[in-house]
């Protein structure tokens, strides 16, 4: 399977480069190669290395249509256990332990029915797993080493005053930088707000009117009609302010697997400026989940999320941003961080375990080629904090070198960020 994937990747890449020879103005090829090495500072100190290759192809069929395909190929030289980012004894560890315990309790009646031989085999497998055997194999196939993802694969059709975009595409809703409560299409990592987001398979219809107003309808199908996300967004401008209103129904295959119920959400966002120059933005979403047995009109479980913030660039080039996020589903007490909260976090229903967050970004370019950035994310409920300092160096116009780190502060066992593993990464990206 892995060989087949590699072969497929090779064929696509090779054909793309062969096509370059006959490249005309309508066909555009580009992309980048990113190589990263990371050091995780925890009990079992660990280094990882991975590479990401992105091939972007755009073809203008005519003024009536366009085809875009972007391919991402991840190669992990040393595969990373997805749970290795949590420290032992952390709140996440406790959630996972509790989950395993509940699962074991659930299957114990089944174990009683096993024959002694079957039980012996099961115990031996569990022994091997619990010894950490799989974790210590550098080139293990237990966790995927290679991943091939079609990030974009879409056809755009342009009509008089409307566009239809059909296929896997990037949908970006909301005006927040670190948090986007109105965006049901993407799962965002608040410590990496500019990180890549994988496209959404959807039919996206845009109707444009006035100078900069649009009405957007999106439907993202799942494996059946029930697991379908759909909604609309009306966007317009008043004076120097842009604003939008949206309404969506959110349910997907992933949400079903995680046990997240369908939800209906209305949202709004705006961006503009205050005091003649300070950027001011915000978004708010009111969601109503429908758990099993609930009627559509039941609003007992409705919750509210919003974020608001400002940004400003000083004449020296120093850029500052502050953002506040209120998460109506979040908890103020770490003891209430549970599996439900964890699945909501991983399922993208909310962007943190806690109720309130304060984030800040400071960025400063210097000496023509350097840029330093610091992202800070504070959970005031448990007084933990994530700091992401980054130094970027433009080695060449098409080569960027980055050194960054994730530093988590707070009690390991009682806070959200204190339970995560500190790391430092070195990354080189070359564009073509």
């Amino acid at each position: 399977m892995k060989n087949l994937r590699s072969l497929m990747f090779f064929l696509i890449t090779a054909s793309a480069f062969l096509c370059r020879g006959e490249e005309d103005q309508d066909l555009k090829l580009g992309g980048y190669l990113e190589s990263r090495m990371s050091y995780f500072a925890y009990e079992d100190e660990m280094t990882t290395a991975n590479a990401l290759f992105r091939l972007e192809g755009d073809y203008d069929v005519s003024d009536k249509g366009k085809i875009e395909a972007h391919l991402l190929y991840y190669y992990n030289m040393q595969p990373v256990d997805p749970f290795s980012g949590f420290r032992e004894g952390s709140v996440y560890d406790k959630i996972i332990d509790k989950y395993y315990q509940e699962s074991l309790d659930g299957i114990s009646p089944v174990l009683d029915d096993l024959t002694p031989d079957e039980l012996d085999l099961l115990n031996r497998i569990l022994d091997i797993y619990s010894s950490g055997y799989f974790d210590n194999i550098s080139y293990s196939s237990f966790f995927p080493k290679e991943t091939l993802v079609m990030d974009r694969a879409l056809i755009k059709l342009f009509f008089g005053s409307s566009d239809l975009i059909f296929g896997k595409q990037q949908i970006a809703w909301g005006t927040g930088y670190v948090f986007n409560p109105t965006d049901i299409w993407n799962i965002k990592n608040p410590t990496d707000p500019d990180g890549p987001r994988i496209g959404v398979l959807a039919a996206n219809f845009d109707f444009f009117f006035g100078e900069n107003s649009s009405f957007n309808i999106i439907a993202a199908p799942g494996s059946n009609f029930d697991n379908m996300k759909y909604g609309f967004r009306l966007k317009s401008t008043i004076g120097r302010y842009e604003y939008s209103f949206s309404a969506v129904r959110d349910k997907s295959d992933d949400a079903t697997i995680l046990g997240i119920p369908e939800r209906f959400q209305i949202g709004s966002d705006f961006s503009g400026e205050i005091f003649k120059g300070i950027g001011f933005f915000g978004e708010a979403a009111l969601s109503n989940p429908r758990y099993i047995g609930m009627e559509l009109s039941d609003t007992d479980s409705a919750y509210f999320q919003f974020c608001t913030g400002f940004d400003y660039t000083f004449k020296s080039g120093l850029y500052v941003l502050g953002e506040y996020y209120y998460n109506g589903l979040g908890e103020n007490d770490y003891k209430n961080y549970d599996l439900t909260a964890f699945t909501r976090l991983t399922g993208g229903v909310m962007s943190g375990l806690a109720e309130k967050y304060i984030s800040a970004v400071v960025s400063y370019p210097f000496l023509n080629y350097y840029n330093c950035t610091l992202i800070g994310l504070v959970n005031p409920g448990d007084m933990s904090c994530a700091l992401v300092p980054e130094l970027e160096y433009a080695f060449h116009q098409n080569i960027l070198v980055k050194l960054n780190s994730n530093i988590y502060l707070g009690s390991r066992s009682t806070t959200e960020f204190g339970g995560l593993v500190n790391k430092i990464s070195f990354c080189v990206t070359g564009y073509f």
Binding site: G30, I171, D206, G277, T313, N368
Partner: protein
């Protein structure tokens, strides 16, 4: 007929142009319906290194609406900047994230693509609204007689505390400028070169902005330019940015 011409010429010397008339005539140079140009931007850093970018620029109604798209280097290829209402409203589009973001005023004084031009410099903002201005005399500049016009900021929020521009008397094209920072210290110098008439319009072949504080300079060279081609209105909208 000739007599009327001479009479008008004598009248023009008797009644010199007011500063508003000079600025009106200068702005009238940008009176084209549309323009499409391919430009090369060279950033000469103080350490001697040079960064080169290439961009296509589309303008409509005398630069009231402008769309710029970077085509080189590869790292920023596909990035677009839309300026409407003479640069009062600026949107930025990143093709990798498919995100359109409106730039707040505070970012207009920032360097565009690490060059010595700010977003404000690249648009044709209505300076008469934000600055007090007066005719400071006439001077020769690169062998041409020029009007010298002095602009002083009405409020601190604008990019420059003061700037001076020289407008060529023969064609009313801006020949150069000096720009001062908030402390009144010389910050940038503008030099416009290779001015020629293409069709009905006077056009600069090369514009240089020198940052005297950083000792760097940026040169924008117009490689190709076409006027009055058909450009659809929706090109200058958010839809156009995403296309």
């Amino acid at each position: 007929m000739k007599q009327i011409f001479y009479l008008l010429l004598i009248f023009s010397f008797c009644f010199p142009l007011t500063v508003d008339e000079i600025l009106d005539k200068s702005e009238a140079n940008d009176n084209f319906k549309t323009s499409v140009s391919l430009n090369i931007e060279e950033v000469h850093n103080s350490d001697g290194t040079v960064k080169v970018s290439e961009m296509k620029a589309y303008s409509k109604n005398g630069s009231e609406k402008t769309l710029m798209e970077y085509t080189e280097p590869k790292r920023i290829k596909g990035m677009k900047i839309l300026m409407l209402n003479k640069g009062d409203d600026i949107w930025f589009y990143s093709n990798r994230t498919n995100r359109v973001r409106k730039i707040a005023s505070h970012q207009k004084n920032q360097s565009a693509n690490n060059s010595d031009f700010s977003y404000d410099d690249m648009s044709i903002s209505d300076n008469r609204k934000d600055y007090k201005y007066s005719l400071a005399g006439e001077e020769d500049r690169n062998g041409s007689g020029c009007y010298k016009i002095d602009f002083k900021a009405k409020a601190k929020s604008v990019t420059y505390s003061r700037f001076i521009i020289w407008i060529d008397r023969s064609n009313f094209v801006t020949a150069g400028g000096e720009f001062y920072d908030e402390n009144g210290v010389l910050w940038k110098k503008l030099e416009v070169k290779d001015v020629k008439k293409i069709g009905k319009y006077w056009t600069a072949g090369e514009i240089e902005m020198k940052n005297v504080q950083k000792d760097s300079r940026t040169v924008i060279k117009t490689r190709e330019i076409k006027f009055d081609a058909d450009l659809p209105d929706d090109m200058f909208t958010e839809r156009g940015l995403r296309k």
